[in-house]
Structures are given as C-alpha cells and as structure tokens.
Symmetry: D3
Subunit: 254 residues, 6 copies
C-alpha cells in the first residue's frame, strides 16, 4: 500500500507541517494539497465539514503528495472508521480525557485482533492500493489524542502510555479555558505556555510525538523550536481572512 510519508517523516525525527481545512470546498482542498504541507487535516469538529462533504475533500487532497488526515466531530469510533474508509491516513481526536478515551481512539483505527475497526475500506484501498492493505494499514495510520481538558492534563502520563497511540496534539483554546484563562488560539498566559511545553516534553519522555495547533507560519515555527514534531500553520478561513484584511488595508492606506 501507499506509504504514509507523514508517519515516515515523524519516525525519522523530522518536523511535519500541517495545514488545516475547515471549509467544505474541494477546490480549496486541492489548493491546500499543493502548497507544500506535509499533511492537511480535514476538521469535522469545529470546521464546517461533515461526513457527506468530507469525501470530495479527501479525493482532492489525494491528487497531490500531501497526506490527508482528519479530526472527527467527537472521539466516535463510527465516524473515525468512516474517515479511515474515506482515505484519511491519520486521526486527531478531540477532547481525550482518559485512558479509555485514548484506547477507544486507537482501537477504532486498528483491525482485529489489534483493535475493533470494521472492515470495508471502500475508498481507502483506491487511495492506498489494495495490495497488502490489510494488515499493513495497521502500521500506517497516525493516531493523535488531543489534550485540552483538565482530566486530560491529569491523565496525561497514562494516556501517553496507551499502546498504539502515536502522540498528543494540543488544542490551545480549550486548554486555556480548562485552565481558567480566556480562549486563545495563540496562548500568551505563562501558565498555559508552560503547560504547552510540559505536554510536549512528557510526550517525548514517553517516546511519543507532540503536535501543536497554530494560526500562522510564525506560530508553527515557534512550536517547532519548542520541540513539537507536528506543527499546524493555520487554517484556510483564518489564513484567507487575514490575507484579505491585509489586502484591503494595503489599498485603504495607500
């Protein structure tokens, strides 16, 4: 089957750059697949994308060399399995608070006997190739648990020991809220920033990858410097809105 170059890169110790897709436009998806991101995340939680509109996005992302991954609406095995059947090569699951949550995520991504994924990779074998899809795919799906709740912080070390989990991904808005601060995609409160670094370090201590959300290349570069292996450099609507506002300002101020 087709190699998950994102996992290869991470396993080789390289930093992966992630783009974030929150609108259900296959034209936008194809464009984001061609700009150099190592992977693009189709966001079904806070992005305005559902199971039905996600399909053409995965297809559009398959045209280039980027790796399509997904954030499900919830840590829901049914939806995770469908995203994998649709061609996602990785899952970033939100609001993982307990070992059970993390185990559910991992199990949904692996076929028996390792997990409980139901077999029916309708489009996945079109994308990945049917040859050796099973059992090789079990080694090719990235599994990230989002750490962004108080319980998730409490259980961080236990979550990081769940077998099969590849790493954790920080959602800074929810993390800030959980810690009693205003929600900020780019945290500035010292306690939150310290926690971000702490999570990154604990992930590494357990031999796992650490991923960090972000709104720009500058932010992602900063996260990379902190040691994060997987850094998000903004989402489509955010980057476009910022670019438009700059463009308007450039004319108004001229």
């Amino acid at each position: 089957m087709k190699e998950n170059t994102l996992l290869t890169k991470l396993r080789n110790g390289e930093t992966a750059i992630n783009g974030w897709l929150s609108s259900a436009s296959s034209f936008t998806a194809e464009a984001m697949g061609l700009v150099g991101f190592d992977c693009v995340t189709v966001d079904l939680q806070h992005g305005l994308i559902g199971i039905d509109t996600a399909l053409p996005l995965f297809q559009a992302l398959s045209i280039g060399n980027t790796i399509p991954i997904a954030r499900p609406m919830w840590n829901d095995p049914a939806q995770i399995m469908r995203l994998l059947d649709s061609g996602a090569y990785g899952i970033i699951s939100p609001l993982i608070s307990t070992v059970d949550d993390a185990a559910t995520l991992v199990s949904a991504c692996l076929y028996p006997p390792r997990g409980t994924r139901s077999y029916g990779p309708a489009r996945a074998i079109m994308y990945a190739g049917a040859e050796n899809y099973y059992p090789e795919v079990d080694n090719q799906i990235l599994k990230f648990a989002m750490i962004e709740t108080l319980a998730g912080l409490d259980n961080l070390d236990k979550i990081l020991q769940v077998e099969g989990l590849d790493g954790v991904y920080i959602g800074p808005n929810d993390l800030s809220l959980a810690m009693g601060y205003m929600p900020k995609t780019e945290p500035t409160d010292k306690e939150v920033l310290d926690m971000v670094q702490h999570i990154c370090d604990r992930a590494h201590a357990h031999g796992k990858f650490a991923g960090m959300h972000g709104t720009s290349g500058v932010s992602a570069a900063g996260s990379a410097k902190k040691g994060f292996n997987f850094v998000t450099a903004g989402n489509d609507i955010g980057l476009l809105s910022a670019a438009c506002k700059s463009a308007v300002a450039a004319v108004r101020q001229s």
Copy 2:
C-alpha cells in the same frame, strides 16, 4: 429597496475595493464578506462556480455589508438575468468586443422599456426589499464591460458610449494574450501597461468608471494610484495559496 453602496461610493468619486471569489464555498463567501471589501465578485467564468452553487454564495455575502456582484460565464443574457434574480447587484461581463456585446449586457440588466430583463426577482427582492424594487433597481445595478480582446480595444471608445454602461473592467491575462504577450495577471510589459492606463483614461474621458483586476493589496493600491475607481485585491484561492506557501516557508526556514 436596499441601496447599492458600491455604486454610491463610485458615484461619489471614491475608490472601491473588490474581492474575488472563485470557489463555491458559502463559508468562504461569508468570510470574504466580512473582511472589509466594498464588494465581492462571484466568478462564474474562470472561478469553479456555476448557477447552482452560486445561490448560497450570494446568500452568504448578504449577511455582511459588502455588495455581491458577479461575473457570468459568458455575456449571456439568460445567465446575467439569473444572477440578478439571485441577488447580484452588479455584473462584470467578460470578453466584450463590440458595441452590440455591450448593449446586450446593459439590456439584460434593465427591465423594459429600458432593456429586456425578464421579471421574476425571486431572491433579489428578499435581498433588496420588495418596495419600489421596480423601477428603482434599474438605477442600482452596476454594469461593467470587460475589455480584454483586440476587438474590444478597437471598439473601446464606442463601447464606452453605450448608454447605461457604468464602466469597463480590464482582464489583464486576456489583454496580454490579445496583444501578443504571455498571459500575466500582473502585467509587466510596457505596451500592456500603457494600454491599461489608456483604457483607464478613456473610461474617464467618457465619464465612465474604470476597473482593474489584480492579485494583491499592493497591486490594487497601484491600480488605485493610476486612477482606477474599482480595484480587485486578489481572489480566494490565490490569496490562500500564497498565505499557505508563506506559512510553510516560515517553518521550513526557521
């Protein structure tokens, strides 16, 4: 009916800043309607948008204060009328080469006895308000003829004298090709640049508005300085792709 603030601005001698929408995402459209553009153009010619996907875009653009306008796939009265029925408050029609082309455009935008628009403003009166829609709307629709062919250049002065036409809009790629140069959205060839200025000046000489396509705020600011009344500061896919590439580069180079 609701005022066409874009026309008001142009009639007041102010420069209008236009955003360009080429993807069929209502989320993207709503975002572009909120960033400060005076108007946003839904592009059915080279954008990947058709009559069916255009409807939610006009609706999304109606939420904010920007003015929704459209470029039809062709200088086709049937499609122009449908775009107006869908709530477009302006039409930028491509490849206008003759007086007849321009007259066709104007006629399609006006009800009898001034023109030939067929009556049935299904969504337009939801957007504009039913009160006085007819006959007031005949004074509220912006009509721009694109000048971008050799014949269009030859007939420029005659086109600019077509009654009811509000102005001309330059398509720099086609203009460059027509003049024997490589297609460039941001022309650099002197002969083309001179022609761009010439078109702008002739429009003003005839008391009409001049519009110029562009890929960025810098480009649009430059056009405004040349005297253009209506300047496009980039399209969604172009601005997003550029922003993504910058973001990726920021991480890779850090």
Copy 3:
C-alpha cells in the same frame, strides 16, 4: 411508454392544475407531487434551480402521479433537451417572440425527422419506460410557448400556427411590463386583462391550449373560468411565505 396524463387531460378538454417549483429541494418537490396537482413545473428561469439541482427534483416528482414539466432558463435547445433527458414531460419556454423562437422550441422537443432533439434519454427511459420510447415520445411531450413580449404579441397568430406547438402560456409580469404597466403577477390593469383574454381566445381559435400563470387557487380558478386549459395555482416559495405570514398574524392578533 408511460402515458403523459397531463396531455391526455388537456386533449380531453379538461382543465389542468399546475404547481410551480422554484426552490431546489427534493423534499419540497416530493411534497408538491403529492398534493393533487396534475403537473408541477420545475422553473429554471426565475426559480433558483439549475441543471444540476433539477435532477433530484424530477426524481422526487416521479414518485407520485403528477407529471413533471420544466421551464428552461432560456429558449435554449441544449437545455431543453437535457430537461427532457432528465424526465420532463413538458416544456414551458420563456420569452417566445417569433415564429423562429417557437419553431426552435418545438424542434428541440422532437427527434428527427420531425425535429432536432439529440438521442440519449438517460433518465427519461427510466421514468417513461424504454419500450416504444422512440418514436412514441414525440407525441407525449407538452410544448408551451410563453407569450410575454411585445414581439410575441405582434406575432401571436403566427406563433400559434407553428406545427407541433401545443399552446401558449402567459407570463403576466413580463406581459405587464411589455405593455407599459407595473409588473404584476396578478394583473389588474384593464388593458392587460383584456390582452390575457385575447391570448386565450386566439389560442383556442387556432385549436391550441392556453395556459395562465397565477399565485393562488383563487387566481387559478379565475383563469379556468376565463377558459384557460392550464392554470398555475402558485409557487412553493410564494405559497409558503403567504401561509407563514398568515400564521404569524394569527398569533400576533390573538
């Protein structure tokens, strides 16, 4: 092939009641197919429906016993043929002003040697049945020319003599505008009302059917009394909006 019960009814001298669909919802279409209309018109001119969203509407209308017909965006053979391929059993073509316009409509609805329809009834034979589709279908498609322009009025008798045309359909808004009055879906100006009756009478004098647009059952009943064979009793958005306003008023006034 499946009988066009609408044509049968008209040929038997009965009055047919038409519903009008202007929104692209297959749920709405199915509902309108079940309320007792003899036929429902999918409106691609002023309705917010295009070729892509029309397909599920024709499918939904096929579930009940109503006959699906269509108004194309323009008197355009390509779109007329596609609507027939999609399962429309009748065409109401807008803005027919000349004998040539009417002949174009008729020709687009008939296969050679009678006309120029291109063969490829992809879904039509699913709806109609493949058996004897050709050549029987040539006798099963209703063809109505809309009379609503000054030229159409001038050429009325000649249009009514075009072989193969089944009748004329009046668009009261455009007719009013053409005659110098305010656009009204329910005309009240005597000259317009007289013209409506005149068109109806001329159609009958030529042995053709007469159809009249309308916004309600009362309006359609009135048209039936004037002798119209085909009467439209309102469109989805208009009927729904009126029903909602009545419902709101009922509560506010209680």
Copy 4:
C-alpha cells in the same frame, strides 16, 4: 456580540413565535426568515436536514432578523456544539427523560467552567461578532428540553430545576404515544391536553419558559392563550402542503 432577541423577548415576558424548517433548502430558509417569525428552528431530528445541509440554512436565516435555533438529531453534545459553532442561538433537544439528559444539554451549550462546550466558534463569531463572544455567549443561548417521554413526565420537576435550562418544549406526537394515545401533532385527547397544560404550568412554577409545538397559526395562538411563551406555528412542508391542497381544491371546486 449580537443580541439574542428571542431570549430578550422571552425574558421580557413576551410570547415568541417560532417557524419550523424541515427541508434543506436555503431559499426556503431565507424566505422563512423574512415572514415575521421571532425564530426559526432548523430540525435535524425529524426534518430531512443533516450537519452538512444545515450550514447554508443558518447562513440564509442570518440575513433577516429572525433568530436561528436548532433541534439536534439526538441529545448529543458533539452535534449540539457543532450547531452552536454553525450559528444556532438556541437548542431544542429531543427526548429529554432525566436530569442527566437535561444536564448534558446545558453543559454542551456552555463553555468551561460552566459547561463542557469545546471552543471553536468558526461561523458563530461571524454571525454573532467576535467581540466579547466569550464569555457573553454563555448568557445568550436558549436551551429547551423536550418533554415527550414517560420518564420525562416522571422527572419533570427535577428536570425543570436543572440550572441553566431555560425551559421545556412539548413534542405532542411522542407525548401522545407515551401516554398510550395515537400520535397527534394537534392533540385532542383530554388526558394529553391536560398534561400539556400541566407541563406549561410546572415550567412557570419553576420560573422556566414553556414551548409548544404546533401546525398552524390557529394552533400556536391557542397555545399562547394557554400561557406558553414559545409557540410553533407550523413547519415548511406542512404549511406548504396544506396551502397547495387548498389551492387545488379551490380550482377543482370552482
């Protein structure tokens, strides 16, 4: 952030009139937003609307002054949060049977520390405005628990005491079934009618709002007279079907 005028009205002791949307047409949604309803409910339970088709409906409802609310497919925090992210300003959650059910609903609508809503108001801040969105939004979302099961009746008083719940909404079909009667959207059985009044009175006794489903303005006016603060005056498909049937009958009987 933009005021929730529906909540303001309810808090001021006025009766709110609700429209109900069960078809996934943004044109229908925009029309229903302009007829005078205080709010319109996008129904993802029994309406034929899902997460993907709901987005343009919320956008269309945002054009007018009505307040968009939603009924999720289930009392599911993931879907409730996505509806809020999409711009819903209220949630009517079905089949609330226990205090836990009600607490789950409330928690899903509030950010930490009050609740568990995950932060990512992608479109919500476009609709509501980003300024003070957090924490003000926690006071701006209407939360209605549907009372329509035997357990819900048993636990009514306890449910009404759940902090943060704004009120209850009666689903008359399920309520009738639960009480051993035929399902009726407009109940006629005395025991059911008494229960309807009882639920309304208990809500008021606990200082909460009472909402009642209904099929027409007459029905909604009746509910308002019984003391309900929030009355539904019919859904799109029901109102349209009734209007069509009346129109057809008007012609047939003429």
Copy 5:
C-alpha cells in the same frame, strides 16, 4: 400503508435478492431500483453515504418497485430513526454483539409501547402513505442484526431470541477477521464457511431469517442454495469496477 413486499416475500418463504448501494448518486440509485432487486440497501457504514446524501437515494429508490433498506453507520438509534423517517423499510445494523445491541436495534424501529422510536415520519408517510401508518408500520420494518464479531458469535442464540428481530445478516469480512483469518468478502477458509452455514442454520432453528453478503450473482446464488433467505448480489462500485475491467480487457486482448 404501502406493503413491504420484501417482508411479504420473506414471510412467504421466498428468497429475496438484495442490491447494495455505496455511492451517493441518485441516478445510480434509480438505476439499481429498476434492475430487478427485491430490495436495495443504502449503506451508511462502509458506503460513502451520509444522512444528507441518503435522502435523494431513498427518493430515487421509491420510483420503482424495489424496497429501500439501509445500513446505518453504527447501531445508533438516532440514525436508525432518521433512516426510517427518510423512507427506509428495513435496517441492517452492523456489529451486533450482544442481546442489548439487538434490543436497541429493535426498539429503535418500533414506536411506543413496543419500542422507543420517536414519532415524526416526515418523508416516510409520503412513501408509505399516511393512512394507518401508525400502528401498522411496526409490522412492516425489516430488522436484521449483523453477526460479524466474536461476541456476536458467542451470543448468537441469545440474539436470535430477541423479540421483534427478523433475522441476522453476515458480514463476511469482519467475520473472517474476528475468526483470525484475512478479510474476504467471499470467504474461502473452511472454518469461516462452516460458521456461515452454522449462523444460517441457527437463525432458521429460531424461526428467523438469515441474510448473507456477497459480491456477485454467482455468490448470491450459492448463498441461496445454502438456505439463506436474503442474499446480496454485489454493490454498485464493485459490480461497475468489475464490468469496466472486463470491458477494458476485452479490448486489450482483441
């Protein structure tokens, strides 16, 4: 209400032939409804179909005489109820492992007092007819539990005794995986084949129907010979891909 001819056939001891739909095309659905299948299953688990794209499929399947059934994404009452509201006349629920799972499925398909289905058959009464819909529908919905996990095998006899369950349906890929073999839609391992026959026999011993998945007419005929009452003869994408490959080979080898 409209008879469920599939259930009638099964109850009469006849073998039912099932087609499987995994793409969200209403044109494909209509075609599959016309080729002679007794029923067609809309697959929301491994098919690339969701709640939003399922609606036009059910409508398209309603045109012919086939019976539309559905496989939900999960054994989820909310989605099962919505599929029934959309017009499904049967449910094949995946991964049923326990008596509780089976009871949940049955309960979701029956109205109180027999079950917990929520009342709101929006489109179902358009398809089935409103007359006597309740309570007759409780006897007209096919309920199949998929047996494909180790726990499901362990609990087979207990599952088969769940009141209201009509039968079991075998998912051969998951069954093979569960039993320690490679996933195969057409099993060849003796132990798996024996288990398939065993499940069929146990169903019959309990007076329930047995259904078997398959990829072709040959496979389905083989299952019928083994005694299965309900046999699947392939899915759209699989049958089409095979037909295309054969066609290409026919040309290449000529």
Copy 6:
C-alpha cells in the same frame, strides 16, 4: 506541464480505450479512473452532469493515471472553456454539422493567437502544472467533433480539414436517426454500419483520428478492429445496470 498520455498514445498509433461517465458521483468517477481506461469522458450532454457537479468528477479522475476528457452540453465555447479550466484534457463536442461548428470547437480550445480561449486555468494548472502551461497546453488538448447529423455527413470531408481538429467521434444513436433508422447505440442496419466505416476511413484519409461510441468491451473491440483509434467501452449506468441484471438473473435461475 503534465503530458496528455491519451494524445501521445493516439499519436503513436495505439488504440485508446475510453470509459464514459454519466452520473455525477465522484466515488464512481474515482473507481472508473482506476480500472484501466486510457481516458474517461465526463458527459454533460446526455449524462446527468452539469458544470457544478463536474468539478469533483475531474478531481476524482485526476487521482489515477487516466486522462479526463469531457463532452459539453452543446458546442458552446463558454462551457468548453470552463471544462478546460476544470482540468479536462480533451473535448468531444456534439452535433458538429458544419465547418463553422468545428472551427468554433477548435478555437474554444486554443489560446490566442491560435484561438479564442479565455485565460484563467483555475484548476487546470493545478492538474497540469503551471510550468509552461501556456503555450504548451495548446498542443495537449484533444478535440473531437461528433459526426451524427445529416449535415455533418454532408460536410464530413470539409470538417476533417479544419486545422487543429484531432478527429471525429461517431454518435451512433443520432447517426441512425439522421439516416432514417431507429436509434441504436449498437447499430445493426447495414447502411448505418457502412457509414460508420466510411467515417472512420475518411478520418484516416485526412490524417485524423476516428472515435466510436459503444456499450461494452465486445463492441469496443469490434470498433478497434474496424480501425477506430479511440473506442468507448460503455458508460457507468449502462455497465452497472447490465451487471445487476445478470446478477439478479443468476440468482433467479439458480
């Protein structure tokens, strides 16, 4: 830019096998792109596909190695240009009857100075690569004129001399009708069969390619033997329906 391997194959004297897509499903499109066809034609004339649903089909076809081409709804430059902008690498234009028709087709496919294509290859440069897109693309687009009318037969030799036209493609249904026979996708009338061979021979005499429509691999193999360079081996709905009917029959007859 990316090579048009279909043109390369034809120019090398090899026979190309074409698949035909008439349903608007991107899943079906991706499947058809992976079965071995040299190219797949997205049919906007008799297929139920329009400009809006065509986009994800082109994207899905871009995933594999097949070459995406298109048949427009009409020999309409506006639509042809949009199909090229969407990523089509070839155009099969229907009902070409005159030299002017053929010249219009060729002109729409070529940029100035060779033709009149308007510049804006929005998605085309994503598919093809931006490097050297202009002017190389002018040599990479396949242009086939459909010969299927009496006038087309009369003007065959003149059409074949139009510079830039790559060849002709026979529509057997329309050709049969034009010649006074029943429409047949697989002609059996000697006069029609002779004409098919004649068209093929005349194309070769003019150094142009000859393409033939067909319903199966057997048919396409037969056309290849007759000398056709481009042979269609069936469309999605036809191949699937035939496969389903065979599967049903296999069970019924067992």
